[in-house]
Subunit: 239 residues, 2 copies
């Protein structure tokens, strides 16, 4: 079965890791590679040479300047993270994530990987619907970037049950429009107080709406509800 | 479960691949690394630096001058090969091999990997009990050496994967208070129109909030947001 998985590397540092990640994807027929702000620019000759037989993945990789741009057409995004304890996302292991992906096929699923040294920031993670954690040894938990990509590519290619009728999920862009409308309305009404808590409060809201598998219809319903709520004046006062 | 798996690299060429293989093993608590006739001799500084947190595996690796020597204390040996069609061995996939290994635990199981360019010779393979094959894409079948080791280490460690811890969910009552507040506010503002669609619209909203795994904190956050939204007057109008 053709996979609907996209791999998104955020601010990757070493070209060689990008190339090895591409090769690992190619080994399991996963072809959509997206790269956000690669440290050494793009194209990158060491990425190309490390990719061995997967040159076409490197040549066709899409490069973005922000994570939000990279996720626009993706319906469900996992943040690959080794520190699931400190984040407010539902944590999936790779098998669970792969089987979820099959349920919503052919809608696009993305897995976002952070830079080698530091991993994803909280802001990166807040853009994602769920977290994906690979259970590793407590004595050596840190996976090489291309290795983490390989294990995901491998597990996503293992699950093969085709779904009957998947729910039609809203795209990342639809959800972010909803969120930005909500944030704007709350901002006007002075909800984000005190100022120093504003970012944290926004992140909490984002967490809630991303965690939920929302369809396009749901998004429209919520949009309608929010627009109504933020209107001034009760309807009764006009009657 | 402590694994009884040994990884045997035969005539590996690149120190970096040896190091990355060691790191991959360490990520899954597999510690017995054996190396037969490494091309660049031993010790190998690039193997050490590529192993990152798995230095002890490199430092404790046993080095042999023949495969036969390396296998002496092992009870069952798999030959990792991408060409199972041309060999006269029973072919196992990784999951089958891992489950076989569990059956014969604590007897030692080994997996033998050949050199990067050429793979195992027929003579190497003839030393092994069975063949192990990793199903890869026909368009890019060849796995990086460390990647092949990683997939084996990963599958052999999967026998007892711990389930992820569930989030602490809000009670049904909390969610229904939230919903009834939302419905009340929307009702006052004339959202449920026309009248005959009212029940259906309410049901849509309920569906959305129930489908979401909401914690108590989330429910409080949403309550706060909704209360703010339904207030009359923008904050700016007071300033």
């Amino acid at each position: 079965m053709r996979s609907s998985l996209s791999i998104i590397l955020v601010r990757p540092q070493l070209g060689e890791n990008i190339g090895l990640a591409a090769r690992a994807m190619g080994n399991f027929d996963i072809t959509d590679l997206r790269i956000v702000s690669p440290r050494d620019g793009w194209p990158n000759s060491s990425a190309l040479s490390a990719s061995v037989g997967a040159h076409s993945l490197i040549e066709n990789a899409s490069v973005f300047s922000s994570l939000e741009e990279a996720l626009k057409d993706i319906s469900w995004v996992f943040a690959a993270t080794a520190r699931p304890r400190y984040i407010k996302k539902t944590v999936y292991d790779i098998k669970e994530a792969a089987s979820f992906s099959k349920e919503i096929f052919p809608q696009k699923v993305g897995i976002v990987f952070g830079p080698e040294q530091t991993g994803l920031t909280n802001e990166d993670i807040s853009m994602c619907h769920g977290a994906l954690s690979i259970a590793t040894s407590p004595s050596l938990p840190s996976l090489n970037l291309a290795h983490a990509v390989l294990l995901c590519a491998y597990e996503f290619s293992q699950t093969s049950a085709a779904p009957s009728s998947p729910p039609l999920l809203a795209s990342h862009e639809e959800i972010f429009s909803l969120l930005s409308f909500l944030e704007g309305s709350l901002e006007k009404k002075g909800f984000f107080f005190p100022e120093e808590k504003k970012e944290k409060m926004k992140q909490n809201l984002r967490d809630i709406f991303l965690r939920l598998p929302l369809s396009s219809d749901d998004t429209n319903t919520l949009f309608g509800a929010l627009k109504t709520l933020q209107k001034n004046g009760d309807k009764s006062s006009f009657s």
